[in-house]
């Protein structure tokens, strides 16, 4: 499944980061790497963007961007 499908409170492990060039590098450098644990923490009132806890920080990602991160529970 992909990161945007996680329900609030759910945890998962990153298996792959897809996407091209600078976009993908940006996610990798923030620590979203295969093996990294991620927790969905919440979302904006309109359901998007969503917030995730990654390496102790809370990141806010648009669903469209989060779709590029594959995870397994």
């Amino acid at each position: 499944m992909t990161l945007d499908r996680l329900a609030p409170g759910q945890r998962a492990r990153v298996t792959a980061v897809e996407g091209e060039g600078a976009f993908r590098r940006r996610l990798l450098e923030l620590g979203l790497l295969p093996g990294t644990e991620v927790e969905r923490t919440g979302q904006a009132p309109l359901g998007d963007p969503m917030t995730y806890r990654v390496r102790g920080a809370v990141l806010c990602l648009r669903a469209n961007d989060a779709r590029n991160v594959r995870v397994e529970r």
Binding site: L28, G31, T51
Partner: protein, 736 residues
Amino acid sequence: MSHHEEDHHGASGARWRVVVAGNPNAGKSTLFNRLTGGSAHVGNFPGTTVGTTRGTLQLPGGDAELVDTPGTYSLAATSPDERVAMDALLGFGHHPRPDAVLLVVDGPRLLRSLYLVLQVLELGVPCVVAVNLLDEARAGGIEPRIDTLAEVLGVPVVGTVARSGEGREALVAALGTCLAEAPRSTAPHTFPPAAAADVSAVAEALPERLRSGDPARDEAVARWVLLSADESGRLPGDGEPLAVVARIRKEARAAGRDLDGELVAARYAWIDAHEAVFLGRGPAPARSFTERVDSVLLHPVFGSAIFVLVMTLAFTALFSWADPLIGLVESAMGALGSGVGGGFDAVAGGEATGWLGLLRDLLVDGVIGGVGAVLVFLPQIALLFLFLALLEDVGYLARAAHLADRVLRAAGLPGRAFVPLLSGYACAVPAILATRTLPRRRDRLLVMMVLPLTSCSARLPVYTLLIAALFPPVVLGFVPLQPLALAGMYLFSTAMAVTASLVLGNTVLAERTHEPVLLELPPYRVPDPRVVARVVWSRCRDFLSEAGGTILVATVVLWALTTFPRHTPDELLPEQTVAEARVMDLDLDALAAPLQLEQSYAGQLGRLIEPVISPLGYDWRIGIGLLGAFAAREVFVSTMGVVHGAGEDVDEQDEGLRQRIREARRSDGTPLYTPLVGASLMVFFALALQCLSTMAVLRKESGGWRWPALAFVWTGMLAWVGAFVVRACGLLVGLR
């Protein structure tokens, strides 16, 4: 000012130069303040619009100049602005080479922050690491082991709490030693063999400008190039692509390897492997303060309500609370003007005429008026940045961006654009300055290009005058037309801003590469009053020193255009009128004012542009009004006062001016202003970038005349077409 100018170019006379780098939200500004005290001042990096703070740290061996860089998680750059950090660390381009680097990292989020530390260690520069926010880390159940960290990283590490000053002495001592001994740092981690071979190949082919002669540093630069250059191998801000980068990447891809992943993962792998070594864990609170606050502030219902409330408060402050302060500035400048004018008249012994009169008018109407035109912006700028700095420091600004993101996405903008856009409805000048809160240059430029279309408060007097003078209060028996027309103008302006954002964002300012829209939601904190005060003060000073001059000159030029050539009332008025006026004791100057304006250069320009604006239903008198509005849009009202003989001191509520506007006739005797002409004029005002101050600030913030010129031309064309379409449609349905 000359003192700051010198420092801009690095000639501060300090013995050492220390570049300060670090993560966003790591308390870097507060720590910077702790170290440099009152000596900190703000400017731009040479040749960029990237802001930096400089300050002096006194050390036993001499002074060190501290140069701040924008907060970042990585040195990799996808835009010229992001490149500044790397260029400053290694002394590339215009940047002098630093003697040491001070890295400020986010203690509570140490595992992620160490990524930047490892990148800097790879460069081999002398380096001191400050692990800041120790108090917050402890509260969250994390205990960084500072000594162990120093051991495994091989550089001095100091734990700090910038807010309380804890660790300052130790940090200053470590910096002093580091500067005196200039030890090389070495990276503790290694890269997989295949990636290392690729890096060596790039390092050997580095162009001269990126080379240092130090093999380890060249390899670090090569890794940075591999993670920064675009698909063709071009670094942001560089002309020539590096062929070797494109080739190496292609080969890696062909071999089924993920070179980017290998480089990034090698650093994180070292961090993850050593986590237990340098991170002690204490009892973590079940639910942190920030989580509890967020359950309200990010709540679907309460969160949205609070967002609306906070933004309404901000807008009210800009739109209404700034008014008394603006009035204060205006009356102070008015008093200064009449004082100076009175002085001239006293010297002349009566009303100053001739050269003395000209000098008086130049000083009072030109220079003092121009200084006033600059100073009136200060209250709004100060209020907006006070608000922005407070929200940023508290941690709410990122949440506001998060909450607004979905809505702004419809206009192709990130959530962070919300506050600048909202501010645009008060005034585009502070709003353009506020685009600095947007990290990406493309987004900044897009918002700057769209902001002139938001309905600023200077348009309101124009709309009010035209609507009240020309529109019937009630149509169809019950529809209150006037308030609807005003609301319509705001809706129109918003719709045009959204459309412009979508059009520009997909053409001139199209994203070349897709980047994730990323925001970090930092923990809530009590704002640091010194940091807030510095932001407000530096923004105001920046505006005065960098845009103030342009606005002042523009105001004087506009004054000259409406004043010259000068004629006395006797030259302008028919003899009979002069004689009658003398008998009836009328003010000759006031009688002659419309004629003076008509034959001035501005009047001549108004006639010159008449062929261009006559298809819109305007004549040269409206032309002068449009030209005069460049000083500030609301000046249109007083220009109309002069042109139509109602005097200069009128406002949009003036019944006499409204009457004269209704009575104004064309040469063929038909009314000059019809409701249709009024509507077309309002559309023109809604769209045209008729504001020299906005253009001056655009020039300053975009780094040249290119963008303001572009904005001026395209909004001008849009305004003309818009006004023409309104008139054409009106004529088609039988309006006049």
